[in-house]
Structure formats: C-alpha cells, structure tokens
Symmetry: C2
Subunit: 112 residues, 2 copies
Amino acid sequence: MNRKITSQYQAEAEIFKALSHPTRLFILHTIKEKSYSVSQLAKMVGIDISTMSKHLDLLKRYKLIGGIKERNTVYYQLTIPCLFDFIRCARKMIDCSPECQQLQCVPKKLNQ
Amino acid sequence: MNRKITSQYQAEAEIFKALSHPTRLFILHTIKEKSYSVSQLAKMVGIDISTMSKHLDLLKRYKLIGGIKERNTVYYQLTIPCLFDFIRCARKMIDCSPECQQLQCVPKKLNQ
DNA sequence: CAGTTATTTGGTACTTTTGCCAAATTGCCA
DNA sequence: TGGCAATTTGGCAAAAGTACCAAATAACTG
C-alpha cells in the first residue's frame, strides 16, 4: 500500500515542502505587490545570491512564481493569484487552536 | 534582516514542513473520520511502527492531532477541525494552474 | 509478579536540504 | 569584440529528515 499512498499524497506533500522554508515564504509575500530581482531579494534576506537563486528556482519549478527578464535582470513575480487565498487559509488554520477551544472542537479526552 | 524574516515566517514554515510528507498527509486524511492506533496506521502505510510513531509525534507537537489512550492502545484523532478547510484550500491552489490560464493571471511575459 | 501487547525512545545509516564559494552562462554596452 | 553586471550551475560541507532495528517504557492480564 506504500506505493499507493505515495502516489496519492506525494504531489501534495511536495507543494507543502516548497512552502516550508522561511526564506521562500518571505519571497512569496514580498513579490506579492511588486516584482524584485534575485540580488534584491538576496540582500533583503541577507543570504548569498546563489542561495536565493536556488530558492527562486524551486518555487519556479512548482509554478508558484515566474521570472521576467529585463535587460539582464530577472524580476520574479507570483504566478498563482490564489496562492494568498491559500496562505490566508493556512494562517487561519494555524491560529485555529484558540478558536477551536472556544468552539470546543478539541477531542474530549486528550492525554496531556 | 535575516533574523527578522526567520522569526516572522519560521512558525508558518514549520507547519508547512509538518504537512510535507506523504505519510503524514495520509494520517490526517485517514483519521479524519475515525481514530486509528499507531500499529494500525503503520500497517496501512507499510512502514515500521516506530517510524509511524515518530510521524504521529511530530503532528502532535504541532497540535494537529491528539492521542487518546484506551487500555494500552493510543488512538489518534484530529485536533483542528479547520485543518480540512485548509487542505481543501491547498488543493484548490494546487489545481489552480489551469484555472489561472483560463483567467489569464499568468504573468504576461514569462521566460519559458 | 511474570508475561504479553502497544507504544515510545535511542542509536545508526542513508538521503535530502541548505548555504557558501567558485566557475560558467547570459545579455548588455562601449 | 571585450568587459561588465546579473544570474545560474556545480561542488562541497554542514545540518536536518527519514527509516529501520533494538531496547525501554507503560499498561493490561493471568
């Protein structure tokens, strides 16, 4: 059954993995309003340009962002507008715990 | 600035990381309707019980699931009901690409 | 209490991810 | 064409994640 589960959830897991690094979340939030170049983003975060390039490449591979080349600078921008509906959704979930307690949707008997 | 970004997006990134493994997504979907024990889940996936225990522990650390002990078996269940609103939301995003093309929300000039 | 069952923890090996440096590539401009 | 600027790629080392086995723990049962 291992194979079956893998194929079913692999793709989904990979998207989450793409979103599972602070720098990449920063990128997505930062280029939401305005495109930035690789070196601009690298400077903002304080990491090597090549490292930033690789983060951007990863996001590009999952079609979350895309780059537009002007002269010899690549400006990155969001490809999927609904990405932020999603992230808003994620935050709602993350903040859910207290709400959950109000709504009493925590399992009745939790061992500690 | 590195520090600032880390603190701001670290927590969010960690939640995504918790969701970035096929087995853990399987767990969440499987215990949605009905609680299962560690060994039951391990058998379904076809991995070692100790490995499954560690996946469950990770999800528990992020308060996504909780365990109820009956006799000497621990049954795991979802803690956050809105988790699936979120996952539905994630799937919508993942399936977004074709929609996006219809809606022409792909950047105008994408270099390949 | 001794044995059994279920889970967790510790240890180890393997793989993947991340980040830097250096080198290669691409495209502009004099 | 030669040099410059921006980005990408390759290589390596450190860190993190994953999976197994074996041992430890916890809780029931005779």
